[in-house]
């Protein structure tokens, strides 16, 4: 076409006009730290594995978890999911049921026999791990993946630590635990059972290990002084729970008192019920609100008919009669004796007052520092003794499986660095993806999925798992409730809302790039990014 001068123009010719020069601020893509990841003691990249799960790509999701945590099926059941407490979705409706999805993925992996392989070259270094609880197992797993030879020495007859000797079956079926431990063993980790380390110095003197990771947990039950006529009526929760596992089933009788207010008390009480007690009463010196046990555990216990006696301390026992003193909370919320007493009949009393660490095997290890009954470690999980690291319940931290697993992972990385004569430097943390950084308009309304529960009759009499898992479709639904806080999930909003077509879509999985030739810096993309993955920064001239 012979175009008339000036009046008629070529299509698209405005590309010659670089409007990027108008800009005073430029958008940049950022990855912010999702609050769930931030809260996860095991350092899982939750948002990332949910991203895969959202697509139904469960194996990729599971593999993402496995980068940080070798036991998703266990974790999905027993983790107290601080991630969910931090989840931004809670501000819209209910947090994402992260644990339920994790459990689904873990179970699926077991069913599908998904495995991980050691890809690293053998380093020629060997590491001793003391204790096959979650912390020791996690450390062994990561160390093995890094190419190191690992030997675990475990005092007990099975691996698993408190996951096996503490957490009852109805919360953590043993085949699940076994399967996930087996996967670690399959990596070449040697577990020597019934091999208590009594004197670490001696062991280290006879065997050449390049490093040691201590993870012996806290197994010594704390006792309260209760004058009793028949001491055999009083036992501790740890022994009770451990006994069920080793077959030394204790006789509790029909009426059982459990003394304490933590999760262990709940497990002991609920186990007692399942062992045939007709009445189980938890005696606790403060109120329900002050109880350290998680709300859901108290709730489930109550559903199962466990009774509670608040604001009470047990003073003495005589002939099956327990004397109980009423307590009163003072201004600071501390329980104070009132001098009022009452009597309770019971066949046995289970003490669930917490555990101490058995440090006897450490002897006079050089440089070791112990404080408050726990072993002190530096920021690299190393004890005062060079090459000896420690984690889990035996170091100062919250005592949970998740923390223990996180310690195991971190210790493995530090040990790896130590073995290479360097110091582990964690990657820098991104800015936190707070709720205000999101544009929540874009997320569909979606109520949280409820996991199925075993019917009550079976809960009261068997050790079958109480809480059911999700199936494929509700796991997917639940995963899709994730807001992907702070991390691009390729929703195309920036690509779509730019009035200047200054966002380039790089293709699936490759995210986007800005075309600063045309970006005028209006910040629409940043404001309309649902997950807060775009930031405006001042232009420098």
């Amino acid at each position: 076409m012979n175009k008339p001068f000036a009046i008629t123009l070529d299509v698209g010719s405005s590309l010659a006009n670089k409007t990027g020069s108008w800009r005073t601020e430029r958008p940049v893509y950022v990855d912010r730290l999702p609050p769930c990841n931030h809260a996860c003691p095991a350092g899982e990249n939750i948002q990332q594995w949910l991203f895969h799960a959202e697509e139904g790509n469960y194996e990729a999701a599971w593999r993402q978890i496995m980068k940080d945590n070798p036991m998703p099926a266990v974790m999905g059941r027993v983790c107290y999911h601080t991630c969910e407490g931090a989840c931004n979705r809670a501000k819209l409706d209910k947090p994402v049921g992260i644990h339920a999805i994790e459990r689904f993925l873990g179970d699926l992996a077991i069913a599908e026999k998904w495995n991980v392989n050691v890809e690293a070259k053998a380093s020629g270094k060997s590491v001793l791990v003391v204790g096959a609880g979650p912390s020791g197992l996690a450390a062994a797993y990561h160390l093995a993946l890094l190419g190191h030879a690992v030997t675990i020495r475990e005092a007990g007859p099975f691996a698993g630590g408190m996951m096996r000797f503490g957490i009852p079956k109805y919360r953590l079926p043993r085949e699940v635990l076994d399967a996930e431990i087996q996967r670690i063993v399959d990596l070449g980790v040697k577990i020597e059972l019934n091999t208590r380390v009594d004197d670490l110095d001696a062991v280290l003197a006879t065997h050449r290990f390049d490093a040691v990771f201590l993870a012996v947990g806290a197994h010594l039950a704390k006792r309260a002084y209760i004058p009793a006529g028949d001491a055999s009526k009083i036992l501790d929760a740890v022994s009770l729970l451990r006994g069920m596992e080793t077959g030394e089933q204790p006789l509790l009788g029909r009426r059982v008192l459990v003394y304490g207010g933590g999760n262990t008390a709940m497990d002991a009480a609920r186990s007692a019920k399942r062992l045939g007690a007709t009445e189980t009463i938890v005696v606790y010196r403060r109120t329900r609100e002050k109880m350290p046990a998680h709300d859901f555990e108290v709730q489930e216990a109550m559903e199962e008919g466990i009774m509670f006696k608040w604001l009470s301390t047990i003073k003495s026992e005589s002939g099956g009669t327990f004397t109980v003193e009423k307590m009163k909370l003072d201004d600071k919320g501390k329980p104070q004796p009132t001098g009022e007493y009452e009597e309770m009949q019971a066949d046995s009393l289970v003490l669930a007052l917490g555990q101490d660490v058995d440090l006897s095997f450490l002897g006079k290890l050089k440089g070791l520092s112990i404080n408050d009954g726990v072993v002190q470690v530096d920021s690299n999980m190393m004890t005062g003794c060079k090459g000896v690291f420690a984690g889990g319940d035996m170091v100062p931290a919250e005592r949970t499986v998740t923390v223990a697993v996180g310690h195991g992972k971190k210790a493995a990385r530090c040990i790896d660095a130590y073995l290479k004569n360097s110091v582990y430097a964690p990657p820098p943390k991104h800015e936190l993806a707070v709720f205000d950084a999101l544009n929540s308009w874009y997320y569909s309304d979606a109520p949280a999925t409820v996991q199925p529960m075993l019917d009550l009759a079976r809960r009261e009499s068997t050790f079958e798992e109480v809480v059911g898992g999700l199936d494929q479709s509700n796991a997917l639904f639940e995963a899709r409730r994730c807001l992907s806080c702070g991390n691009c999930f390729e929703c195309d909003n920036c690509f779509g809302v730019c009035p200047d077509n200054a966002v380039i879509k790089l293709g699936q999985g490759k995210r986007y790039a800005f075309n600063y030739d045309y970006c005028k810096g209006c910040s629409l993309c940043a404001n309309e990014c649902p997950c807060g993955a775009i930031k405006m920064v001042p232009e420098t001239i």
Partner: protein
Amino acid sequence: MTGASRVKFYQTGTFTVGNRLLDVSVRSVQSDADRNNSLNSGHRACQGCGEALGARYALDAAMRAVNGRLVVANATGCLEVFSTPYPESSWRVAWLHSLFANAAAVGTGMAAAMKVKGRKDVRVIAQGGDGGTVDIGFACLSGMFERDDDVLYICYDNEAYMNTGIQRSSATPAAARTMTTPAAGQEPGNVFGQGKNVPLIAMAHGIPYVATASVADLRDLEYKVGRAMAIHGARYLHVHVPCPLGWGCDTGDTLKVARLAAESGLFPIFEAEAGEVTGRRTIRRRVPVEDYLKMQSRFAHLFSPKRDERRIAMIQAIADRNIRRFGLLDKSEQGAHP
């Protein structure tokens, strides 16, 4: 994945432009890396211009709907001026600008030409700003409707004559400050007239399709363009496109302010066939008009130096009336599109 195919929940659903979880066939036009970009980069619209965005949304959708067989007539106004200053054009469609008032008639002529040339596949869109549509171009628009000419007319409503520097049009809302309705005197800003609802007037012509849409709801907009292009005869689409400059809001708040217009009920989004309302976009998270007004300096005089309770209430009443009239809270009748 069996689970994936059964689950009908997609994280952001169709609220976001794209969604990797949706089947490709139901994804938006704008999410397509190969979309037409009917309005190309390098145009001179202000930062965050809603009109530039709305025009690309609408024309890209139309281009997809008619397989690229499209010609466009454009009225004078920002859209025309910022897209075609010699020697550069931002259009990637066959496009003609004639005058301010005649886009609808030019569209009629184009449609007539295509018909007489036997080019049945080529479809016509005429488009303009609110001034070019509801004021000066109104006669041509009505004529085109009345004859039922095969033209889709798209009005990009930014609620004033923006290109000439923000003067009042008959689409300017009550109380809004413009350069010809200054924030001065006893009743600062635009008068509370009776309003001029051109979509309803279009419906009164009994034309096959009338709809309103907003840049804040892309999927709805694209659906409506698609629907319109599937129909022959005179069609009208009225798209709400905030103008950050004229409204006095942040350049990054264009979509937010458009969203609040819809969520407050001030800009009702509905569609009508043959003169009957057949669908409405219901309000998802209702907000008081105040939330919307406060974002824009053109309404600043309603809040300072003293709150103008009376007139804020009058504006709320307008929103409430829209909500009643169009059933904007009636969740039972949500649009059929995803």
